[in-house]
Assembly symmetry: none
Homo-oligomer: 147 residues x 4
DNA sequence: GTGGTCTAGACCACC
DNA sequence: GTGGTCTAGACCACA
């Protein structure tokens, strides 16, 4: 853990979001490129059902201001998600969760969850904690510890 | 889940390691630079006590062959750890865990653990799982699921 | 005197440097690795107060062109200084003297000066000159002989 | 000044040296390869007249033990000096200052002195000291400060 | 055999 | 444009 992991956590709850709600948190100390963190978080919001087809995303500019990063970085993330068919940009109107995608794919969601869990347990293992120790740790956290 | 997360897991258990033992696993799908993954894993091994002062690390070239990456990438990781005082290189002989490390280990270990836990819970939260759901998930894993 | 001491002296005085100014000189005949010479000279500039927190360093590529060496060599020097907390890199913008450096500067400067003096007098001694002879020699130099 | 400059200073005054006398000091913190330091110091002893044609050098083994370095390193230094015509090895008998070389070449000695002085003044200059400041510093040292 | 230095060049992240 | 990552490969220092 070299430089203190500067962490930017901010929430976005724009009034233009009919059914969706998304919170971005950037972790500049993790080594993961910023644009990938954004992609991941939008993907996760879709997979978990928090964002649904038709939901509107924050504008690039607004999000850039809030996250204090370059608009190009966000544009790149939106762009890649559009290529993957997850987002859809309507020129002049905004960016939306694509309608074409079926409802959150159970399988994808499950894969992502288990992949994340796996990575986490491996790292905890490296740090000398087994599953039981991890469970004890989580139980000690006053609920809501992560969100 | 962007590109399939190609994962390389391999173990190193050189006979020259008296008290140490370290397993490297590269996750090329995570976006984290390879040299940083190596740094992290060595740090973790030291923090958890699996690698101790005086323990010898795999040679740069041997590890490069095993991980199928360029020796310079490993050299970069070792080098950064040497600058930070965690490793010590003896030219012509090899690379070792430094003897010097002062006291604040316990603290560092705790910080790293809670930082890792925090990141994990945030991501699980994004995926729609709260602490209880996470605990249930972990309990379902046949112990040793991640190591 | 082994191989002819090819020496490259060049000055950098980029217009973007508000308060800083640094001159690099490479001595390829000294046996000291190039990247270490660069590190030393930046350290010295900081210790002496010529470069101050916030000052911008030459870009890697510009300096590589001027010194006629590979950009990676300079990147390595900058990188080590960043790990040590002396420099700070802002991606896409450039490399700067870190603002953070704590107090013990005065001390470090003194140590470096006396270490340098000590090494020099030892070598002069090997060459058969004592302190008095050295002083006479220095006095003979038209002031500014070395900078 | 990263790691404290571990310095090994030891003197060699073997009884087998008829007219010569040489002191080796290794500075492992300077970045200069050890074998080059040895070469330099022998050269300097010859240039200054302390070692003269016919004088015997320490054996490789003895010197290796004293300096706590690998005999190969010393062998390499002696070897290079032999190639340059400064030393001469008589199998089974030892290594000597070559008879062929004329008495210490005034010019070479002068060049070496001024080169050393130049490098030193440039570094002091980097550290913010001009010639006068340097002279004051040297005067403050109780004579013998470097030898 | 070990690690260290340097080069050359491709490609990525970010402003 | 900035720096960062990684590769491939030559050559050096040292045990």
């Amino acid at each position: 853990m070299t430089p203190a992991a500067v962490r930017v956590i901010l929430s976005y709850m724009g009034s233009t979001l009919p059914g969706g709600q998304i919170t971005f948190s950037l972790d500049t100390g993790s080594g993961v490129p910023v644009y990938r963190q954004i992609i991941e978080q939008i993907e996760n919001a879709v997979l978990s059902g928090r964002m649904r087809p038709g939901d509107r995303l924050p504008t690039i500019r607004a999000l850039a201001v809030e996250l204090k990063i370059n608009p190009n970085t966000i544009a790149k993330a939106y762009n890649e998600l559009e290529i993957r068919g997850i987002l859809l940009t309507q020129m002049g109107s905004g960016t939306y969760i694509s309608e074409k995608r079926p409802a959150p794919d159970e399988d994808e969601h499950g894969k992502k969850v288990s992949l994340t869990l796996e990575r986490f347990l491996r790292e905890m293992n490296e740090l000398g904690l087994d599953s039981n120790a991890v469970i004890k740790l989580i139980k000690k956290i006053p609920d809501g510890g992560a969100g």
